[in-house]
Amino acid sequence: MTEIQLDPGIDRKIDTSAMKVTDEVAIQITGMNKWYGSFHVLRDINMTVNRGERIVICGPSGSGKSTLIRCINRLEEHQAGQIIVDGTELSGDLKNIDKVRSEVGMVFQHFNLFPHLTILENCTLAPIWVRKVPKREAEETAMHFLEKVKIPEQANKFPGQLSGGQQQRVAIARSLCMKPRIMLFDEPTSALDPEMIKEVLDTMIALAEEGMTMLCVTHEMGFAQAVANRVIFMDQGQIVEQNEPREFFNNPQSDRTKLFLSQILGH
């Protein structure tokens, strides 16, 4: 059997030296269930994410993968079970929610930049108002991260003047300005043209190379194979299969996974 080799989507070689999975638990989800009305959208989710892990969550649309990562920073409320992020349990307690949200960065499919603020203001807003960082310092941090995502020259433009790929990179920089310990990506490349997907993936890979704990909902299987240490396949609101990427792609166990992979990889 020939091993499946996917295109990671970037031209350079990936430096894996700093990608280390530690024993420290970053996210602990036990027996979590969620309903939309009477629709059981997430069913008995159990997962542990260690610090330094890079997890790709995939699955057909409507499988609950976005809902799952949105529960991790409480954009969605779960009705049963437990979610503990960095030692803080997510419940109705607003203080805990704010604490978790300022520790966890999130990147959305549609970027969700603030259109009335410049790129720099987008990046400094939360540090100034949530972290109480002095304006000067927040701007320096913002410029540092804008350089990292390779668009410092756009700092004084408005989001509407940027291309989709640039906007998504700004969105990543905006999250990083809060110095998060965990990053969530909710289909970050799904709304982008093919040539822009590459620049966003490049940014995400660079982040992984620095050892960031990442959870990505994505259909970029090349990225999953190159960067992830674990791939989770979801269907009908439950985790169907999870494995390290090599095994996952070459030797899927469940029929649902096989079907999904054959559709998405075109083999």
Binding site: D98, F114, P115, W129, M178
Partner: protein, 432 residues
């Protein structure tokens, strides 16, 4: 090779074409006329018909305006000067302009409303033009008290004692904020209430006896003319926006009781005519107040007009809120901004921007609706025009008075409209 044939597929251009001028009929005045005035049979007819209408209007009004009399003492004198020709008698304005502007405000004190208006523009400037230094906002915050004192006069310690209530609220908030935000908010509400209820009166009296400073008191029934329109209009405008925002947010709230209260207030006030609210203010409100309380009529009218405009404002802003994509709320949440910070920094700036045309529409409507106070006996410009006609000298004069009043309102309303267009251009960041 200059032409391609459908049957030959391969084609290579050897020389590039230089740009050339458009044909004559596609440029200049001819093009403009053709496109904008005579671009078809129907449009040509419409152009000619419009020209005809404009001509008739000018022919009717022009001579009447140009042939106007500015220096007669009565309508009869005007007619004598005009000697049967058609002409306007603007002498009534030169004779009575001070009444139309100030009502029965004592003439020796005219400088006070004029100064109040000038200072109003100074107070508005930093709100309207963000290029000005933010420190000027301090003057904006103090202006209501200065404005009140200039217009009504009386002891200077009365507005000072009222202002101190706000200072007390601010201090309470700052001191208690270290303990908890919720307690601080309660403190900020309770401290001024206690101050006004128990301490402000005594403070006013003691200070007035120690240091009797102040301007001559002018009773509210001396106020009139455009002055009263401006007082009611500007108070209503500046109060209805924040109240409207709070009502709109309340209506969107998840808290059931808060939401129902806001819905009931908005729907009730929107559902009744302004004139009934004004009658309530002038006639009925006194029955509900403890006997012996004097509650200024202008103040009562301001409250009713504000409530009325706030209900409309709330719905206009709700439209702006509804137009915002859900992603904006989620992004604000995901960054850890709490409800009020998200509202203030992310949601409101965008929702208000979307609602600018509706907000200014409500402002203009409110300002013009102030003329309805004539029905409860306040002498606004319309009321005064009746009073002026009651004088035998000017009995029977209508057009000239109404043109003058219309011009006054038009200047302010047109100004608001222009400013809103400037604001929309300035806030345009979507680059579409």
């Amino acid at each position: 090779m200059s032409d391609t044939h459908a049957q030959t597929v391969a084609y290579v251009r050897n020389e590039m074409l230089a740009p050339s001028d458009p044909p004559l009929r596609e440029a200049g005045a001819v093009k403009w006329l053709r496109e904008n005035l005579f671009s078809g049979a129907l449009n040509t007819i419409l152009t000619l018909a419009s020209l005809l209408v404009i001509w008739y209007a000018l022919a009717a009004i022009g001579p009447w305006l140009l042939n106007s009399v500015w220096s007669a003492g009565s309508l009869a004198e005007c007619r004598a000067i005009l000697d049967g020709t058609s002409g306007a008698c603007f002498s009534v304005i030169t004779d009575r302009w001070h009444q139309l502007l100030f009502g029965f405000y004592p003439p020796q004190h005219y400088w006070r409303p004029v100064l109040a208006l000038a200072l109003l523009f100074a107070a508005l400037a930093p709100v309207l033009f963000p290029a000005l230094p933010r420190k000027l906002m301090i003057f904006t915050a103090v202006y209501p008290f200065i404005g009140y004192h200039l217009l009504w006069g009386g002891s200077v310690w009365f507005p000072v004692s009222v202002a101190l209530g706000f200072v007390a609220g601010y201090l309470a908030y700052v001191l208690l904020a270290r303990v908890s935000t919720l307690i601080a908010v309660f403190g900020a509400i309770l401290a001024p209430v206690f101050w006004w209820a128990f301490a402000a009166g005594a403070f006013d009296q003691t200070m007035s006896s120690i240091l009797p400073l102040g301007l001559e008191f002018v009773r509210s029934d001396r106020f009139g003319g455009f002055l009263i329109s401006l007082i009611i209009g500007i108070s209503g405008i500046s109060l209805s926006l924040p109240i409207g925002i709070l009502l709109a947010l309340g209506r969107q709230s998840d808290m059931v009781f808060l939401k129902s209260v806001c819905v009931v207030v908005i729907e009730f006030i929107r559902g009744v005519p302004l004139i009934t609210l004004l009658f309530t203010a002038s006639l009925l409100l006194n029955y509900f107040l403890p006997p012996g309380t004097t509650f200024d009529l202008i103040l009562r009218v301001i409250i009713m007009v504000t409530l009325f405009a706030s209900a409309y404002m709330a719905e206009v802003i709700r439209g702006g809120l509804a137009a915002l994509p859900k992603g904006q709320y989620e992004a604000a949440d995901a960054l850890g901004l709490n409800y009020w910070k998200a509202q203030r920094l992310i949601i409101m700036p965008q929702a208000l921007k979307i609602s600018i045309p509706g907000i200014v529409n409500t402002f203009i409507g409110l300002f013009k609706d102030t003329t309805l106070v004539v029905f409860i006996g306040l002498l606004d410009p319309i009321g005064l025009s009746n009073a002026i006609r009651a004088d035998t000298n000017w009995n029977g004069i209508y057009w000239e008075l109404f043109i003058f009043i219309a011009a006054l309102f038009f200047i302010f309303c047109f100004g608001m409209s222009r400013y809103s267009m400037y604001l929309e251009r300035r806030l345009k960041t979507d680059h579409k």
